[in-house]
């Protein structure tokens, strides 16, 4: 299986663990990820907030490059996926839009190269959750809440999963042996860049999600979005301190936990780089299993 790979800006820096774990896990599963040469930023929320055509054209350029190579694009980041998918859908919907975008980017793009969420690829194309044999270290005893964020599954015409109660991440986690704890915040917005440019608005949004996750009794949060990760992981300590709460909720990319289940090394997956210490919890899984095995 071969995909064009669009890591996006976050995965080069603040979301580097997502990049590391994605590449490691993909390799283990035999997925070839060919990074789009000289890819550009999708524009995130800033471009489409400023200009309709800029918001569509920036991701279209990346798709056009992949189309020339005859590949669909695997996109880990939820925001990059949402913007890219939007461009693809608009191009397919209207000849006029396609012509305008092609003119702006100076490349042909027919909408044949599809934007695919990495989560969707792992869930649908590979059927990892059925392949028990590959799991060297099932995540037995790990209680997780799955957090898809808002952009991964919305709006409906661009999504691959149910926008109100998505299950792809749940099914992957269940297949890995983890216990998926039900909660009501799977697709609530974390505040995205509002935590950066309007903290008094953005912080309470992230706080609600952390509170709900804590209340659910889960050990950790699993996500598929680097923006969500930044808010939930990096800002967790600050939010907790302001109200004298110690959340102690590690946040993982689903690819990291895939790697853990394949018994990959934490460092290789980027787990030591988290703000909220995340190694102890996954290490415990292994130990618990070993202990159990030893007694048996």
């Amino acid at each position: 299986m071969e995909y064009a790979y669009y890591p996006g800006c976050s995965l080069d820096s603040t979301g580097i663990e997502f990049n590391l774990s994605t590449k490691a896990v993909a390799k283990a599963f035999g997925i070839q990820l060919v990074e789009i040469p000289d890819w550009n930023c999708c524009g995130a929320s800033a471009a489409h907030s400023t200009s309709h055509w800029l918001g569509l054209s920036l991701p279209a350029r990346n798709l056009a490059i992949a189309e020339a190579a005859g590949l669909d694009v695997a996109i880990p980041c939820a925001a990059c996926y949402a913007r890219s998918k939007r461009a693809e859908v608009e191009v397919c919907k209207s000849e006029e839009t396609r012509a305008k975008i092609e003119e702006i980017i100076g490349r042909p793009y027919k909408g044949e190269s599809k934007a695919r969420a990495l989560l969707d690829i792992f869930h649908r194309d590979l059927g990892v959750y059925t392949d028990k044999n590959a799991l060297k270290k099932p995540l037995a005893g790990l209680k997780v809440v799955t957090y898809y964020g808002c952009l991964m599954v919305r709006p409906v015409d661009t999504g691959f999963d149910d926008p109100e109660d998505p299950i792809s991440l749940d099914e992957i986690m269940t297949a890995l042996g983890a216990e998926v704890v039900p909660w009501g915040f799977k697709t609530e917005c974390c505040g995205a860049s509002l935590t950066a440019c309007r903290p008094e608005v953005g912080f309470p949004m992230t706080e609600k999600i952390l509170d709900a996750a804590k209340k659910s009794g889960a050990d950790c949060i699993v996500t598929a979005c680097p923006m969500c990760m930044a808010n939930l992981d990096m800002r967790q300590d600050q939010i907790g301190k302001a109200k004298n709460v110690h959340y102690d909720l590690p946040v993982y990319y689903f690819t990291e936990l895939l790697g853990v289940a394949l018994n990959m090394n934490n460092k290789e997956l980027g787990i030591p780089r988290h703000f909220v210490p995340a190694e102890a919890l996954v290490n415990k899984i292994g130990q618990a299993k070993t202990t159990e095995g030893g007694e048996a």
Partner: protein
């Protein structure tokens, strides 16, 4: 002033043409505001912005903080019983507002500008640049700088920006997109 004098049909038409959303379909049930994660921080909820839009008070809608605070999470569009893409209207209003210099949320606008400027010159985001520039622009010099050192320690920040090979191509995309927007506005 009578309602008719306040209603602006031209702006209402422009909003429709650029968003491709028929705001008259909205029946003001309030489900958008009810589900909006940012609504409690807005001056007007999404339903009220939609009401302004459908009543032809587009000028007023463009001056709200709400259109800037919208995080484009699309919860509203997904759940709307009338299939109205509320987030799309918010986005179009934001673009139209910016074109007219109505910036009700200066910091968010500055953030967007800096973001776009970096992408325009480097082709990709450069996060230290974004944070520093934002702090200079907003006057909150030390906001989020405490994260800088740990980020570096965790090797999560590149202090050296990406060296663009595509810089001319990206600049051209910005220029052509702006021209396309301008043409649409000119057509009004």
């Amino acid at each position: 002033m009578t309602l008719q004098e306040m209603q602006n049909q031209e702006l209402r038409d422009e909003l429709f043409l650029r968003s491709q959303v028929d705001v008259t379909k909205c029946y003001q049930c309030g489900k958008c505001t009810a589900g909006c994660p940012v609504a409690e921080h807005m001056d007007y909820g999404p339903r009220q912005v939609m009401r302004m839009a459908q009543m032809g008070l587009v000028e007023e809608a463009m001056k709200t903080k709400a259109i800037w605070l919208c995080a484009t999470c699309e919860t509203c569009s997904t759940r709307c019983p009338k299939g109205v893409e509320v987030a799309k209207v918010m986005e179009t209003l934001r673009i139209m507002a910016k074109e007219r210099g109505y910036i009700a949320e200066k910091n968010i606008d500055k953030f967007n500008n800096i973001y776009n400027t970096i992408v325009k010159s480097l082709g990709r985001m450069y996060e230290p640049g974004l944070i520093v520039s934002r702090n200079v622009a907003t006057g909150h010099l030390f906001q989020d700088t405490s994260y800088g050192i740990p980020y570096l320690a965790k090797q999560k920040l590149n202090l050296v920006p990406h060296k663009p090979k595509n810089s001319e191509e990206i600049k051209s995309i910005f220029a052509k997109a702006a021209a396309m927007d301008e043409a649409e506005r000119g057509n009004r």
